[in-house]
């Protein structure tokens, strides 16, 4: 490792010790934030309307007087009511999924843990489908009580139950068996999907249309209302999770050692599981199953800035948001005027990536 000389908070120049990647990580986070802003702006202006990024920016900062507006009324609707919600929702979901992946990997002490692969998304999906199909009948009291929050909450509960079962099955005395975790994930996914299948069988035509659209995974239904219901859940989880970064770092040495270092391991695990379930549940509720973001993003970042969760979690949020906005932009422009569900794009890129990790780690990961 190279020695970095950086200015400390006191203004004095402190020699950074070898093997300390924090300066590099902070720089990476800064660059990722800039990248996110650029990609978001690009996505706002990519598509059939020919408003430029500059126009959009100038319009955003123009006064309240209608005469100052740079964009036409039609372009304003396209950008502010159609594209902007998609960009915001894409950013939230991408960040939520990537951070959830990183947290799960820290919790299971394994780089292959991902909400989609181990069945958490399927569990959340079951919760969401229950509300879509049974919301008017069996679950009517639940949906009337909670209104628009019913869907994200049901997805959260589905994800929570799945994660808890998974953790119970796969972890013995603080050690998680990768094989058990992946196999339990397959079983839980299959079970959740079978139950989802039963519900779909019971659905009427109108519900069926909602379901099909939702199942493929898409941001096309993004509205400010949806952001209003699912957004806060994701935001709370996103803001809370970095506070457990130190604990997750200690957990890399095993549960007993984390405890010796002063970490309340049991509490950390419950909060992490709840945070992941909330973030994944909320994103599944609004956009369906979007896979592989949670495994690709943290893995790429660990290669460059290292596994320190204090930097990995915020960097994952930024890169996850950027990649999902980018994937969504591709999904709505590549076969324009039609749309390709975004889940197809993330799986097409993520699937081979997952195989690549398996090949690289062959012999290192103890299955």
């Amino acid at each position: 490792m190279v020695d970095h000389s950086i200015a400390g908070p006191s203004g004095l120049t402190a020699r950074k010790a070898a093997g300390d990647r924090s300066a590099r990580a902070r720089l990476a986070i800064l660059l990722l934030a800039v990248l996110l802003a650029v990609v978001a702006l690009f996505s706002l202006t990519a598509g059939a309307s020919d408003a430029s990024a500059l126009d959009a920016l100038r319009d955003w900062f123009s006064g309240p007087d209608a005469a100052d507006r740079v964009l036409s009324a039609r372009d304003r609707i396209i950008i502010y009511d159609i594209r902007l919600p998609r960009v915001v929702l894409g950013a939230l979901i991408g960040a939520a999924l990537a951070v959830s992946g990183a947290v799960m990997q820290g919790l299971f002490r394994n780089p292959l843990a991902d909400p989609g692969i181990v069945g958490v998304s399927a569990g959340a999906g079951l919760g969401a489908v229950s509300v879509i199909v049974l919301g008017g009948t069996a679950l009517a009291p639940f949906t009337t009580l909670l209104g628009p929050m019913a869907l994200p909450l049901a997805a959260f509960m589905g994800g929570l139950v799945t994660t808890l079962i998974l953790y119970q099955v796969a972890t013995r005395q603080g050690r998680t068996s990768v094989a058990t975790m992946l196999l339990a994930g397959i079983a839980l996914s299959a079970l959740a999907m079978a139950l989802t299948g039963v519900l779909i069988y019971m659905a009427d035509d109108r519900q069926l249309r909602d379901l099909t659209f939702w199942q493929l995974g898409s941001l096309a239904g993004a509205t400010w209302t949806k952001i209003g219901t699912a957004g806060p859940v994701m935001l709370i989880a996103l803001v809370a999770m970095p506070f457990f970064a130190r604990g997750l770092n200690a957990l890399a040495l095993g549960e007993a050692t984390a405890n010796h270092l002063g970490i309340q391991v049991q509490k950390l695990k419950y909060i992490a599981i709840a945070g992941v379930s909330a973030a994944v549940g909320a994103s599944v509720a609004v956009s369906g199953g979007i896979g592989f973001v949670g495994i690709v993003v943290p893995h790429l970042l660990r290669l460059t800035i290292g596994p320190d969760n204090r930097y990995l979690l915020p960097a994952s949020a930024l890169l996850g948001a950027t990649l999902l906005i980018l994937a969504d932009t591709v999904s709505r422009t590549i076969v324009a005027p039609a749309e390709l569900p975004i889940g197809i794009i993330t799986a097409t890129v993520g699937g081979p990536f997952f195989l690549w990790i398996l090949l690289r780690k062959r012999g290192v990961i103890d299955l």
Binding site: M1, A17, D20, N110, L253, A256, T257, L261, G262, P307
Partner: protein, 263 residues
């Protein structure tokens, strides 16, 4: 000090440790010896708060089972037998994890440099930038010891002694590094801290320990100063092989010479 009274530990319905009395005083190295499976590690894990126990274990008069992790982390640091690591951390990043609790006791401004100083102590100068997983077993063990040293850098904090719990700290080390590590333990004790260590090498135990606890089938077979505890008959009974205990001409440190098991 550390006091254990009538400590028993059950794991999965099986009694692994039964009725052990134990004491470790600041300024001393207390060594636990005994054959494989005699309950040494289980007992140390009870002291560390990993396992529930019957009886009583106190560190500086505080019951271990009633302490929050952060309070216990301020009083003792634990070196486990082996540590598996989930992600590619550098040596520097691992050692720095010892500072998580924020009670190293280092002077203000000193803690930034602690990882480097701790690495120098365990003879790993220049290893800070290396990846932990690429090191040999013995080097990894010394990195973990450097992390443990960072956690309780000052052997005494706020007037209270602190402790090192070391489970076979030298088992994977060459002879030079065995001595370096045991010297670190002795230095920690000399400066007012206490050390509890599990050892397999009886000669190293005789050289460094102030008090020896011999465990046999989950119970205490003997306890006391090396010269009092290390006798032909006890060692032969506990370890089930023939030994000759002598005394070095230079002084009163006993040495143990194993004979063949088969003859």
């Amino acid at each position: 000090m550390i006091e254990a009274r009538d400590v028993s530990v059950k794991l999965g319905g099986k009694r692994i440790v039964s009725g052990v009395d134990f004491e470790a005083c600041p300024g001393e190295i207390a060594a636990i010896v005994g054959p494989n499976g005699s309950g040494k590690t289980t007992f140390l894990k009870a002291l560390s708060g990993d396992f529930g126990y019957d009886g009583s274990v106190t560190i500086n008069s505080r019951e271990v089972s009633a302490m929050r992790p952060v309070e216990a982390a301020g009083m003792r640091a634990v070196l486990p037998q082996a540590t598996s690591l989930a992600f590619p951390f550098t040596v520097q990043e691992i050692v720095r994890l010892g500072l998580i609790g924020g009670r190293s006791g280092a002077l203000a401004g000193e803690s930034e440099r602690l990882p480097e100083r701790a690495l120098a102590k365990v003879d790993l100068d220049g290893f800070a930038g290396r990846f932990y997983q690429e090191l040999s077993g013995g080097e990894q063990q010394r990195v973990q010891l450097a992390r443990v040293l960072c956690q309780v850098w000052a052997p005494v904090l706020d007037g209270r002694p602190r402790y090192l719990f070391l489970d076979e700290p030298v088992s994977s080390l060459d002879i030079k590094h065995q001595l370096i590590i045991m010297d670190i333990a002795r230095d920690f004790a000399k400066r007012g801290g206490g050390v509890v260590t599990i050892l397999h090498d009886l000669n190293l135990t005789a050289m460094y320990a102030d008090r020896i606890f011999v465990m046999h089938r989950g119970s205490l077979a003997a306890a006391g100063a090396p010269a009092a505890v290390l006798s032909d008959s006890l060692i032969e009974k506990v370890f089930d092989c023939r030994m000759r205990v002598g005394v070095l001409p230079s002084g009163d440190v006993p040495f143990v010479l194993p004979q063949s098991v088969s003859t």
